[in-house]
């Protein structure tokens, strides 16, 4: 069902109002519901809550909505309206906007579960370790601790040689 206010997005929030014994019912998308001040608990679902949380950001900050995901074409407005992300790449494109919400939903932004295959994790660790060592090396050189710096440099060489 489409939102009865904007007629464009999927209605995710069902709102029932009783005024003077007269019942009116409305089906709104997360964005329109948030604009009317309904916080998304109306349908009791987390995705309703999310789209209204994101909808509230939209009201206060319109800057991010110009940018579109290069993979699927989603704008952050699309994501905020539906509470759904367009594609895997969106998580990178809108990382800054999405991370605070992930933190609010899950209480964490660090995956600690399963990793598909093992190759990808090894590669990531390798890159992380090298970039970490390079930062460390830069610090040691700045502090003129050349002996330690040489050790780190050798470690980096060894890691890069293993590629």
């Amino acid at each position: 069902m489409l939102c009865q206010k904007c007629g464009q997005n999927m209605a995710t929030t069902h709102i029932k109002t009783v005024i003077g014994g007269k019942v009116t019912e409305q089906n709104l998308c997360g964005y329109c519901a948030a604009k009317k001040g309904y916080t998304g608990f109306a349908d009791g679902s987390i995705s309703g809550l999310l789209s209204s949380m994101l909808g509230q950001v939209m009201k206060s900050d319109n800057g991010v909505f110009e940018q579109a995901c290069s993979c699927c074409g989603s704008t952050f407005a699309d994501i905020a309206e539906t509470g759904k992300v367009g594609c895997a790449e969106c998580y990178k494109t809108f990382e800054t906007e999405l991370l605070p919400y992930l933190k609010r939903i899950h209480g964490s932004i660090n995956h600690t579960g399963k990793t598909p295959g093992s190759t990808e994790l090894v590669v990531t660790e390798f890159i992380d370790k090298v970039s970490h060592l390079k930062r460390k090396l830069a610090n040691l050189v700045a502090e003129e601790k050349y002996e330690e710096a040489a050790k780190i440099r050798d470690e980096i060489k060894e890691l890069e040689g293993d590629k």
Binding site: K84, A88, H111, G113, T115
Partner: protein
């Protein structure tokens, strides 16, 4: 293996069934909401190839949802084979299904792939083991979208991370009659679990059958999420058990046998009335009040759902359906 609601040995208890669901996506195409017809075809083809490739590990039949009649799709929801959401939007979508229907892969649901494994009784570990094996096998061909910091990437941010939803279906008639469900539900939500009706989000709890599942998927491992759920479910089970021990035996027997009588002799049985009685029958069987081994409450519960009934009986009006339900139940008792 038999389908979960016919796995009688495992069904006798407060924990009726265990379910694992993993949400997975391919990395190089938009999530289902943003897919066009061509992308959906490509997705189905790729998944079909991947499913065929793992035939030596698990045999699944690939089915186009367009080939399944509307009523059968609704019956599949009643048997928990597919989600209500998938049933509502399954046009042009597909499913890969095991013979016993305990394993299903929904293609093009909210995520590209939803792997689901159900098993009877308290058996989350067993169900996870199977789901995990399928996940590993499919990933080899499909390469799921994954980020080292955020985990498996999903269309809804509420599933990101492990993409895991583990659920247990519990039968809590006495806790319910004491009005304790809201309290249990509130306590569960404080530690990242949800308590819902038998058919998931938005469904009303029918006759004391409840689903409890994990809500948090990021920052917690699969193993810990499952362990948490098991620990809390066990506490709820203990609560139900001690509540059962407190009931006056004569009163309980009276209630149970009245329900049995109604099911044995009624000529018209509405869905609401039926679920109320079958819950009492299940309680009676589990508490040793009903000693007839031929009474299978969980199988009855599933087979007497509206669309399940329509499969076997040509019932058009609700009244005809209620009559068909009463007839079927009398036949089985």
């Amino acid at each position: 293996m038999s389908c979960w609601y016919k796995d009688y040995d495992a069904l006798g208890g407060i924990v009726i069934s265990s379910r694992i669901r993993l949400a997975r996506n391919l990395s190089n195409m938009p999530f289902p909401r943003r897919m066009d017809a061509q992308m959906l075809r490509t997705l189905k083809e790729r998944v079909k190839v991947a499913v065929d490739k793992m035939q030596d590990k698990v045999m699944l039949k690939f089915i186009e949802m367009n080939d399944i009649p509307e009523n059968e799709i609704k019956a599949m929801v009643e048997r928990h084979v597919i989600s209500p959401d998938f049933a509502n939007s399954c046009r042009d979508r597909a499913i890969a299904l095991s013979n016993d229907e305990n394993i299903s892969i929904m293609i093009g649901e909210e995520d590209h792939i939803r792997i689901q494994v159900i098993s009877a009784g308290n058996s989350l570990d067993k169900a996870y083991e199977i789901a995990d094996m399928i996940d590993v096998a499919l990933n080899e061909s499909l390469g799921f979208a994954f980020d080292s910091k955020l985990g498996y990437l999903t269309e809804c941010p509420t599933n990101i991370g492990t993409g895991l939803r583990a659920s247990l279906m519990l039968h809590l008639p006495v806790c319910e009659s004491r009005g304790e469900i809201n309290m249990i539900s509130d306590a569960a939500s404080k530690i990242g679990l949800t308590v819902r009706g038998m058919y998931g989000e938005g469904s009303k709890a029918s006759a004391s059958f409840y689903q409890i599942s994990n809500q948090i998927t990021l920052g917690i491992s699969e193993k810990n999420a499952i362990e948490n759920l098991k620990v809390i479910a066990q506490q709820i089970v203990e609560r139900e058990k001690s509540a059962r021990a407190d009931i006056d035996k004569l009163n309980l027997m009276d209630t149970v046998f009245r329900s049995l009588g109604a099911l044995k002799y009624a000529r018209i049985m509405s869905s609401d009335e039926f679920t109320k009685h079958i819950s009492m029958i299940k309680l009676g069987v589990d508490e040793g009040i009903i000693e007839n081994n031929n009474i299978k409450p969980v199988e009855l519960l599933i087979s007497a759902q509206p669309y399940m009934l329509m499969k076997n009986h040509i019932a058009i009006t609700p009244l005809e359906r209620d009559e068909a339900r009463a007839t079927m139940i009398r036949g089985l008792l």
